[in-house]
Assembly symmetry: none
Homo-oligomer: 206 residues x 4
Amino acid sequence: MNQERKLKVIQSTNKLGRPRDTSRDLVIIETTLRHLTLYGYEALSTTEIAKDAGVSKATIYRRWPSKRFLIIDAFKTLPRLEVPNTGNLEGDLKDLLDQLHFLFTSTYVLPVLQILTGEMSHDEVLQEELLPWLEERYYPGRAIIERAIEKKELPEDIDLETAQSIVVGPLLTMVSYSKTNIDEEVLTNLFNFILKALNYKSEEPE
Amino acid sequence: MNQERKLKVIQSTNKLGRPRDTSRDLVIIETTLRHLTLYGYEALSTTEIAKDAGVSKATIYRRWPSKRFLIIDAFKTLPRLEVPNTGNLEGDLKDLLDQLHFLFTSTYVLPVLQILTGEMSHDEVLQEELLPWLEERYYPGRAIIERAIEKKELPEDIDLETAQSIVVGPLLTMVSYSKTNIDEEVLTNLFNFILKALNYKSEEPE
Amino acid sequence: MNQERKLKVIQSTNKLGRPRDTSRDLVIIETTLRHLTLYGYEALSTTEIAKDAGVSKATIYRRWPSKRFLIIDAFKTLPRLEVPNTGNLEGDLKDLLDQLHFLFTSTYVLPVLQILTGEMSHDEVLQEELLPWLEERYYPGRAIIERAIEKKELPEDIDLETAQSIVVGPLLTMVSYSKTNIDEEVLTNLFNFILKALNYKSEEPE
Amino acid sequence: MNQERKLKVIQSTNKLGRPRDTSRDLVIIETTLRHLTLYGYEALSTTEIAKDAGVSKATIYRRWPSKRFLIIDAFKTLPRLEVPNTGNLEGDLKDLLDQLHFLFTSTYVLPVLQILTGEMSHDEVLQEELLPWLEERYYPGRAIIERAIEKKELPEDIDLETAQSIVVGPLLTMVSYSKTNIDEEVLTNLFNFILKALNYKSEEPE
DNA sequence: CAGTAATCGAGACGGTACGTCCCGTCTTTAT
DNA sequence: ATAAAGACGGGACGTACCGTCTCGATTACTG
């Protein structure tokens, strides 16, 4: 599972000579994330990152072919959603919303995702590189729904694609475009909305 | 209402001298939108826009202080949501989803919004400039919900902020991160999900 | 004689309409000379001259086809050498050196001449325009020599071209490249040098 | 002595990193001299020089802070007068006039000197930078006169400043403002004029 | 004495150079 | 071979000026 978080740096092909200092990888990535969040994609400069990270530009370009790929790799080091497994849909959904809330408010995920989404809009290479990877992050949404269907907590004929967009979309939109503080109450409202949207019947009353 | 769509170009200070050629404003804006969609924020070059629009750089910088403000203004010329008024929530929601679908698939709105969202993440000026304006676009979502509450089509205690995020969020997320084609069926699924989420009871109690 | 000093402004061909305001010619020329002396050829800007002279750029370009010709015309308004006629070469030469000294230290002539000399070096149009006119200024040097030859004050076989360069050249070079103050003594030294160079024999064989 | 001819390029501050390619200095200087002579100060464009020299603008601006200083440096690479030492004033003066003639007709010296003289007229920085350096070129004139005084070839009380202006001034003025071809005869005339002006007595006839 | 037309100041226009900065590559010495 | 340092060609930035143009207002002559 950690496997997937490995950096996609260009690997050295040669075994001769001085070996790469892998600690540099991390410093560069961290500096990149910081700059990206502070200045955005355009104002981000490899020259500046190199200075700030105490690294030469060659050291950066030896690992990544361009600014774009450095940023992609930086993004991929960010924390990801974990598939919840609480036993029922209610618990799983609550857990997922909490995870999303955490990612969007306490990590670099939101700004970097937004910046890369902007870049993806006109960059097919970036799309091909990132979309499958983003699906991984979505997967938890889909996974808990599939499990709920198996358990008959949800009707069989539910459309997975739409269903998972209902789980992630509203929260992402709120953190992106609303100044409203996302507190426990909002999360609870959202939780209820989603359950109702999915036609979830609480197990007990039956 | 059209007032708000007026370009925020730097206005000439007095009435002396040769007046600005307003037709240039439009050519520049259109060229900008085209380039923005094709090349993105970073690769967008005022030098190129000037050449392509058959205009001098001075003519651009006379109107907008920098690339960033040119893009903001370009965004503001894009079509907006209109408040539906079909008589009931079902009709309004259907209309709204159709409008959103159209905006996201047949206009420049989606890429430009994504690019600007990325820029907003680290640029407070841009946020202050754009967020209130985006709220305008959201407003239709809120408006139809408020109207439905008045008409008792929806329960009174519904949270507006969350509710409107349910209307726009899933679709925006789908068009941004899913390769799924958004067809009539998907829209219908979404429509049903939203109505259920909002606890909407069809008027004719079947 | 004043004929030659007339400005070469483009004349209005039409007798209809509002007549040119000739007072503008002078204001522009004077502002040009001031700016030329203060800022030089390159930094001289018609935009700035227009502002400073309280005139529009069109008013300038209606009279002169370009910056270059404006400057030429400005130069031509500067005072010129007058042919001395004191009765003998000694008096004439003294008078001429005094005139040159005055032109070089109390008027705009020196800086403007230097600037235009620099421009002439690579601009044939300017050469053709200015060289004959400069010869006019030289002419006094040649004139007094020719007169002295006629009067047998100077040998017949003297080379006019070289002779006049001896009259003007040293002083021009000194004011251009030496920080030495040109006082009465220097002028007297120069005066004596020149007379000796020309093989002048004082009439009253002392 | 060669020390003084070294370019005043902005020196790299330390010995780390890729060293400056000094061959670029030369290409840039040569291109500058060519353009200066062809197009003059104003029309000279660093952008064009860069293109023509196959060099980037950064490479130019890394070495010189502006066009002006590039030109100054270019001027300083031009050949200079050498102090003649033939044994007597006659030989030295002949040699000097020949050198001047060569410099003014077969090198870039004249146009560049004229252009810089024009710029100096309103630019104190340039004056302070160039005048002492020009004095070096004059020095040969002064040097041969001083030597002649020591040798009693010339009277003791001669004014050096004026005397050297007689050596250089007439020729400079002729090449600047006269279309006359400067041939052997003109040089001989000038030579004789100068010797007479300085009161030189040929050694032998005595 | 109203109509006409060139003039005026102001400033917009296309074009182009300025000097700065960044990209991604290359070249040096040291490890 | 890798490291830091920084030079390299290329090219965009935002500013400023050139010489042209277009606007409303002014100012003489014409009819």
